[in-house]
């Protein structure tokens, strides 16, 4: 157990360090990469908590897809750090408010943990226990309604993303492979029958 505890503290330390660097580092691209490290270490923590499926989905979805999107956004925004700094004092009250709310929420969770009688923590499960199977048993039967709502939310996300970002650009030159394949000989080649020219004498 002590080795597990050591691994836990190691990943927790990496997580706290990476999270701090996300907000203190100057280069926004580096901040995104530190966020990747933070997600990865929290995935390791979830694995230690025996939530394997969530840990792997965190790596698959957040590290694999969301962070790519973040990198695109950071590069697309063409960030000028000096301009960002200007609004610092203006946004400080709002930021403090949000920060306080998050601290209060985390405090509530911790208080609940310390108030609860010891021994009420979930017991470790055996090696043949499958987290993923348990999720599957519940998600598609007991929680089927939220599951279908998730589909509807994803549909809204698809439609919104397309409606917001799709732009037609008429003037661009591009290949149309279907038209290229469908071309016939008579569209391209015209045979002209003409008399042979006389040789000058």
């Amino acid at each position: 157990m002590t080795f597990e505890l050591f691994i836990f503290y190691l990943f927790a330390a990496v997580l706290v360090f990476a999270a701090l660097r996300v907000v203190t580092v100057r280069n926004p691209v580096h901040a995104v990469l530190f966020l990747v490290l933070a997600f990865f270490s929290s995935a390791a923590l979830w694995l230690l908590l025996e939530a394997e499926f969530l840990a792997l989905v965190l790596v698959l979805v957040y590290v694999g897809a969301v962070m790519v999107l973040f990198l695109f956004v950071v590069m697309m925004l063409d960030i000028n750090v000096a301009v960002l700094r200007e609004g610092f004092t203006r946004y400080l009250p709002v930021g403090l408010l949000v920060g306080l709310a998050i601290v209060a929420e985390m405090g509530l969770v911790l208080v609940r943990y310390f108030v609860l009688p010891p021994g009420s923590a979930p017991k470790p499960v055996g090696p043949d226990f499958s987290n993923t199977r348990m999720l599957g048993d519940l998600l598609y039967t007991h929680y089927v309604y939220p599951f279908e709502i998730a589909a509807a939310i994803l549909l809204v996300a698809i439609v919104a993303a397309i409606a917001l970002t799709l732009r037609r650009r008429p003037g661009t030159k591009h290949q149309d492979p279907a038209a290229q394949i469908a071309v016939r000989r008579r569209d391209r080649v015209r045979l002209v029958r003409m008399d042979a020219e006389k040789k000058p004498e």
Binding site: A65, Y140, L166
Partner: protein, 118 residues
Amino acid sequence: MLEGYLPVLMFIVVGLLVGSVAIMAGFVLGRRRPDPAKLSPYECGFEAFEDSRTKFDVRYYLVAILFIIFDLEIAFLFPWAVALHRIGVFGLAAMGLFLTILVVGFVYEWKRGALEWE
């Protein structure tokens, strides 16, 4: 049950070692003779005249966000596949409805031409 993940931990450790040793070896063993000319732009003779960070086309963003959405859809498929023989026809129908809703989005995406790269 966490013993099963020991190989993963070893893999992380070996990966970290290989990565950091390669960099550290170059840092320690390499000979260093700093020269301002080594850091200057070379070959083409131009000084940099604009920021290297240019704006991406918003199309890349669209492709990335569509990728995330269908990535999430696949994440929902994994536990379903594992538990399918236990949740039976009801689970099959639930996933059928889920996929139908998302196929509506996919058809919309296709017909609007969001997958075309003109």
